[in-house]
């Protein structure tokens, strides 16, 4: 009896052990194999971009059952601030949003080279340098843009200015447009710097690029050419004349980027709107969500050609929203696999189709299907035969020089608070290499 009971107990015990082992092998094994990675993305308020990121993450999760993604959409400024603390303490997300104008993350060794994780052939060749350091690529450049000059066709016509077939006004014609707009009580240039460090400098620096040409413009941005250079002074004087004529809204200093969109295509309306081509992120949202009205007479013209300019067909091209991998992350396999799944021509095509914005990912123009085809055709036409200059001023300016650019060139100068001489003096003091 004892032995039988014992045998029975042993048998029951073995069965229990086997059941536990099987449960562990199934459930426990499943839990062990599934890795959760964290990802911080920008664009909480830009539906098309948000949907693109969400779709890529869902596709990845469906194809990789062993990986799950905890995806958060956080405003860009908050991502930078939080990431700066988090990378030091090992708490940063596995993948996070970053733009090339934050080089300190790369310099500090907090970014993982992606060469071993993604197929670099999925990236545009012109976009790779933005994230290349010492021969390695550190970011997936999803979002790219050119700096464009949008305009309201009806209002420009209403004030009596005909945009030429070249879609490029001369200096004098642009000044005339501004003065006619002011006389008609229409704000010539919708722009605000209430929440961004760059919009106020767009008209000036795009004009400087066309005046100086890429080489000297590069010198200016690298602190090797003075803002007191006569050519730079000429352009600054031209812009100052526009400012003094009333080119910008009176609320320029506090007007936010989103508000400047509304200002341009809703109320009170403006003749032009210098903006990177990510304009579409807000403009192509539904009108009830602050997007552009369906019948808005949108046009794209070139920035004005400078008198005796070295490069009238120059234009700024830049990489913006990208995704990077944290070098001290614990789930690099899953994180790398996610980035790999994003970095291909198919997704580049989807980005362009869905977001209506250029991408640093390769794409197949034949497969782009967009409800905004007319817009894309016009954008492509304005980008035909142009000479691209890579990077905006804040990609080059650092520390005190960047802060001076933000305070002086982005804000005070276009707001009419400072003279040409004072602005040049301050920029040289902060940026010019002695």
């Amino acid at each position: 009896m004892t032995s039988i009971r014992g045998a029975g107990k042993t048998s029951w015990g073995r069965g229990l052990c086997a059941a536990i082992a099987m449960t562990a092998a199934m459930g426990g094994g499943h839990a062990f194999a599934q890795t959760e990675i964290t990802m911080w993305s920008n664009w909480p308020d830009e539906p098309a971009k948000k949907e693109w990121v969400t779709a890529r993450v869902k596709e990845f999760e469906a194809a990789n059952k062993q990986c799950t993604v905890k995806l958060s959409f956080i405003p860009k400024a908050d991502i930078y601030t939080q990431a700066k603390s988090a990378v030091r303490t090992g708490q940063a997300p596995d993948i996070f949003y970053m733009e090339p104008d934050q080089p300190e993350f790369l310099a500090g060794g907090f970014l993982e080279p992606l060469d071993g994780y993604i197929d670099l052939n999925g990236l545009e060749d012109w976009a790779k340098p933005a994230w290349t350091s010492k021969g390695k690529v550190y970011g997936v450049p999803v979002e790219a843009y050119t700096v464009e000059l949008y305009y309201n066709k009806d209002l420009v016509k209403k004030v009596g200015v005909d945009v030429p077939a070249s879609f490029q006004l001369t200096q004098a014609q642009f000044t005339d447009l501004v003065k006619k707009g002011v006389a008609a009580g229409i704000t010539p240039v919708s722009q605000g710097v209430g929440d961004r460090p760059f919009p106020g400098g767009q008209l000036l620096f795009e004009s400087l690029l066309r005046k100086l040409g890429p080489d000297d413009y590069m010198k200016l941005l690298n602190g090797e050419l003075s803002f007191k250079d006569p050519r730079v002074q000429e352009v600054m004087t031209f812009v100052k004349e526009l400012v003094d004529a009333g080119a910008y809204p009176k609320s320029f200093s506090t007007l936010k980027l989103g508000e400047s969109h509304f200002y341009f295509y809703n109320s009170p309306g403006a003749l032009t709107f210098p903006d990177p081509s990510w304009f579409t992120g807000r403009a192509f949202a539904a009108p009830e969500k602050g997007g552009m009205p369906a019948n808005f007479p949108l046009g794209i013209m070139k920035f004005p050609a400078m008198d005796k300019g070295a490069c009238p067909n120059c234009k700024t091209l830049a990489v913006a929203g990208s995704f990077v991998m944290y070098s001290k992350g614990k789930n690099k396999d899953c994180a790398g696999a996610l980035l790999k799944s994003m970095a291909n021509a198919e997704n580049g095509t989807k980005w362009i189709s869905e977001v209506s914005l250029q991408s640093g990912l390769k794409s197949d123009p034949a497969k782009i299907v967009s409800p905004h085809k007319a817009y894309f055709d016009e954008l492509n036409a304005r980008n035909k035969d142009v000479t691209y200059f890579f990077g905006t001023p804040l990609l080059y300016y650092r520390a005190k020089c960047a802060e001076t650019y933000i305070q002086v060139m982005n804000n005070a100068f276009p707001a009419g608070l400072i003279s040409v001489a004072d602005a040049a003096e301050k920029m040289d003091a902060a940026c010019l290499k002695k």
Partner: protein, 319 residues
């Protein structure tokens, strides 16, 4: 019947228990173990969240920290700070905030308290209404006032235009000559209610005999305020001034949301500059911002001591 020895033993045991109870009841007689048990958690929190970060900030100020590497640089950060033009602009702005704004805050609070004390109509409603801004977060207050100050449709400019003073309509936060004042007014609006409540409590605690005596002497409101109420409220007003002063020496939130220190550094404060140097400077270096924070910590301590000495009354009012 208990004998004498057992009575003594019982008495001693009773004394010991009483002593033990007294020890627990009176912290001055508590043993070190008891003190440690009661103080330990609080001290731990204080050390971890206040003392350590403060000392670590001072320690970091002698280093340049790039990524995970710290390099000892001695007093170099302090030397650089002395020649940093933006730092001195921030110091000037912060001093203007700290010395001027508390006067506005306290005066406004006192006036509102006097209005309530005098029994203005709807006093109960006004007391709540005036105190409400204190309960709002800086973010809400900042956004509210950014709308008020908006050039195109802000209520301030709309009112000016409506009464024919359109020429005075300004970009309140965009003009370097107006921006600091505009932000100070916003700050005063937020804190007026707090000062009002404290002043009102202090006024109510004033001895009625003195005020009634002044009424008997036909003392008018102005004279009563000048010669009786304000002198008797002096300790309260001084405390409010110093509290306000300390708060303004560290002001950050409101400025950051409304102007981020602009335009042309017109509203830059030491706190916003520390933040910019720590998080917006394309560097991970915490050494330099730590040096600014250390210097400013010492300045705040010194200023409070000096203010206490200068403004503190040696005469003590007895009533």
């Amino acid at each position: 019947m208990p004998d004498a020895i057992s009575l003594r033993t019982t008495a001693k045991s009773g004394e010991a228990k009483a002593s033990s109870r007294a020890t627990l009841a009176d912290p001055r007689r508590a043993t070190r173990l008891v003190l440690a048990i009661f103080l330990g958690p609080a001290l731990l929190v204080y050390c971890g969240l206040t003392a350590y970060p403060a000392f670590r900030t001072i320690y970091d100020s002698f280093f340049t920290i790039e990524g995970m590497d710290a390099t000892f640089v001695g007093l170099a950060n302090y030397r650089d700070l002395m020649g940093d033009e933006t730092f001195w602009v921030a110091v000037r702005n912060t001093f203007i905030w700290s010395f001027v704004a508390p006067v506005i805050d306290v005066a406004t609070g006192l006036l509102l308290a006097l209005a309530l004390y005098a029994g203005v109509p709807f006093a109960r409603f006004l007391r709540v209404a005036w105190f409400t801004p204190v309960l709002l977060s800086y973010v809400v207050v900042a956004i509210l006032w950014m709308w008020i100050y908006n050039y195109d449709w802000g209520v301030l400019n709309v009112m000016l235009r409506a009464v024919g003073l359109g020429d005075l309509a300004s970009s309140w936060l965009g003009d370097p000559n107006l921006a600091l004042a505009a932000v100070i007014v916003t700050h005063a609006w937020k804190w007026a209610g707090f000062n009002m409540v404290v002043c009102l409590a202090a006024i109510h605690s004033l001895p009625k005999e003195v005020l009634e005596a002044s009424d008997l002497d036909n003392c008018g409101w102005g004279a009563k305020l000048r010669y009786i109420i304000v002198p008797m409220l002096r300790p309260t007003l001084l405390s409010l001034y110093i509290l306000s002063f300390i708060g303004k020496m560290k002001v950050f939130d409101l400025v950051w949301i409304m102007t981020q220190g602009g335009p042309l550094w017109a509203t830059e404060t030491v706190s916003t500059y520390v933040y910019k140097r720590a998080f917006n400077w394309n560097t991970f270096d915490l050494g330099y911002p730590s040096a600014i924070a250390t210097v400013w910590f010492l300045v705040v301590c010194a200023a409070v001591i000096i203010l206490n000495r200068v403004l503190g009354s040696r005469e003590r009012l007895e009533y």
